[in-house]
Point group: C2
Chain length 421, copies 2
């Protein structure tokens, strides 16, 4: 379909052209202007909280048959609005990621070459019905000098529109182009497809939501995508683990929050330590409400555990369920992770530095941890201040995606009349 | 189509699985092993030069109706084989891009976070009938720890197979997995389509060739692509340009080699300096065999120049033709570049530092130069030692793609028992 026959393509072209012009202006905006816009947007969120809550109530009323979890994600409260506002103010405090000299060198012919961070351009943010994502994503894009087109879930459109109004108020007050933060002009599902096909108009698509949404985006997109596919994370308790440390780390890695991508889904434990430690680990987790799927060797130690199927080890539970396998040393643990893992985040618990190094060096995962919880895979915990998501691909960025990862680079080459031989 | 009904999909799956296993091994290979493989492959290229030349003669004999330029690209000679071998030996001298600590910081909770360069994984290299690309690409992938599947143009298959044999001999001699460098097992065109759809099996596709090939790859690929789309480069001669420098730079930027992507296609010249300088620039280039397409204001200065159409300014000539437009200062030059350019490489010639800064800051292009030729946009000239291509997208890498750009990163996080609050 072309723009004449496909109204969504025409709409995205108009939106993206305005966004591109705004992005060019935003890319050159000095830090104080961007920070002023963030702070003004935070103030506008607070000032218009009654209107945002009213829009949210309309969204909720229009969709009475939602599940409890869906309703919870869709629902805004005073404190959630305050959290969005505070998040924008925190972004204003972060250093400007744009214009950093990433590296610099001089060639024998005298050319000085500088690699400089710059915004990516126009970002298409496609997310499910969690309206607060609109403020977080808009703020991160603004701070990193990118324009953004927000397309939230259909059930959240009124809430997102109200939040968008506050973001635009912030841009206006700071004298920045209002088209830098846009919302989808239509609830039509075809608009998402048009965004995904908008190569040359949108520079990057970031999907945020469940596996269905992300899979659709990755399959259909003609535009580069920075996506979170799957987080099937492992905690490997090595034979030389300090038992109390292993207990504390596993309980946290599995049960702190079970629905986050950095939650541990599978425990690998060395055969040498399983007889003494596995019963304690299981008891700890059972007390926290966790269920189990164990291989035959783990059931030889703890016969009461339910048996795991092959498929269980390939399952991202996102729930209070732990798969357990007994292994024989680091190479076997790495084999298991290569076979079933998603290259997201894996941890080893060990007091043996050589084993830790062997484990880290053998991993292809975005994040490998030694003696720490897999739940640390998070932009805030990495010190990025905030994150727009976690990337599970191999290109551009891996792991938490913060302001720095929302930038690309360009080269400035300073000469004195050089020509190429 | 699935693997059962599509023989190409089954072939690529087999090849890519072997490549993935080889890539995992290569990612951990120490530098001496990789360098030994490169040097042994160079020796094998020299030792098997007669066989390579014979294969090349068969390729040439099998395709008698090629254009002269095509034949030239396809033809191998003793000196071209020597250049390939020397190129591999030069790569062996370059620093290992894998394992570099890109940054490192400690969090308030004591976690030490390291961002470390690592290979991307399995690269699919799709190129036209220039057999030497096989050696260059295989060498760069090997040095950067990536496995590669090479798919050259149909006319070059025997030549590429003979070069591939030398690369495999090098891997074998160094004790590295032979599946790290593979060639397409079939000349079937459907194999290219299967490579482009091999998401999850191939991590990155790099196309190298004409616009037709690159456009097909960018439109069809379900795998991330690092591509060179277009190089419509500008040289802007500012009012404060030193005239002799402008003459030398423009002649080099346009005429050193007209078929390379960094060649200048359009001259922008300030109205203030055009009356005195444009006739000299035109005379210089005309003496070198260049033709022109000039806007009305340029023709007011040099009436003998042919008139440019709007389309001429949007044309990447890759030939001895120069589009010329007269502009009024930096903002007008930037407007022209934004309207017609491809965000590849642009240069300003000026003695005015403020104008140079204004120009650089206003550009979105991958490379902006001050007082130097646009033909410097090249991996070798940037000091990368060698390049696998030039990237024109916004994600992952921009400009010359060398060993560093053939890497991604991962995080190692070192703790002492930390759990997340």
């Amino acid at each position: 379909m072309n723009a004449i026959t496909d109204p969504s393509a025409a709409l995205i072209e108009t939106a993206a052209r305005a966004a591109k012009a705004a992005a060019a202006e935003l890319a050159r905006a000095p830090r104080p202007a961007k920070d002023a816009a963030l702070r003004a947007a935070a103030a506008a969120l607070r000032a218009t909280a009654p209107a945002i809550l009213a829009a949210n109530a309309e969204d909720l009323a229009a969709a009475p048959d939602l599940s409890a979890a869906f309703r919870d994600r869709l629902t805004l409260t005073r404190s959630r609005i305050e959290a969005m506002a505070a998040g924008l103010e925190e972004m204003a405090e972060l250093p400007d990621p744009v214009g950093r000299v990433l590296s610099e060198w001089t060639r024998p012919n005298g050319l000085l070459i500088r690699r400089i961070a710059q915004p990516i351009g126009v970002i298409g943010m496609i997310f499910e019905s969690r309206p607060n994502v609109a403020a977080d994503a808009a703020g991160l894009c603004l701070k990193s000098g990118n324009a953004v087109i927000l397309r939230g879930g259909r059930e959240s459109l009124r809430s997102v529109a109200a939040i968008h109004a506050a973001m635009v108020a912030g841009l206006r007050e700071a004298g920045l182009p209002e088209a830098a933060v846009q919302v989808a002009p239509t609830a039509d599902r075809a608009f998402v497809g048009a965004m995904l096909r908008a190569a040359g108009l949108i520079d990057l698509i970031i999907p945020r939501g469940g596996k269905g949404l992300v899979t659709r985006v990755m399959e259909e997109a003609r535009v580069p995508v920075l996506a979170h596919a799957e987080g099937l994370c492992h905690t490997y308790v090595h034979a030389a683990a300090e038992p109390e440390m292993a207990r504390a780390i596993l309980a946290n890695a599995k049960m702190r929050r079970t629905g986050v991508c950095g939650a541990t889904e599978t425990l690998l434990i060395d055969a040498a330590i399983a007889p003494s430690l596995l019963p304690l680990l299981v008891a700890d987790l059972r007390a926290l409400g966790c269920d189990f799927r164990a291989d035959a060797r783990a059931r030889a130690v703890c016969p009461e555990l339910p048996a795991a199927s092959e498929q269980d080890f390939a399952t991202e539970w996102l729930d209070a369920i732990l798969s357990i396998a007994v292994v024989d040393g680091v190479p076997a643990a790495l084999d298991h992770i290569r076979r079933y893992g998603s290259e997201h985040t894996e941890a080893i618990v060990t007091a043996d530095a050589a084993a830790a190094a062997e484990f880290l060096n053998g991993l292809a995962s975005a994040v490998g941890l030694v003696n720490a919880s897999t739940q640390f895979c998070d932009g805030g915990e990495f010190g990025f201040g905030a994150e727009i998501g976690i990337a599970t691909g191999r290109l551009h960025a891996r792991g938490p995606v913060g302001l720095e990862q929302l930038c690309t680079y360009r080269y400035h080459v300073l000469g004195t009349g050089q020509t190429r031989p």
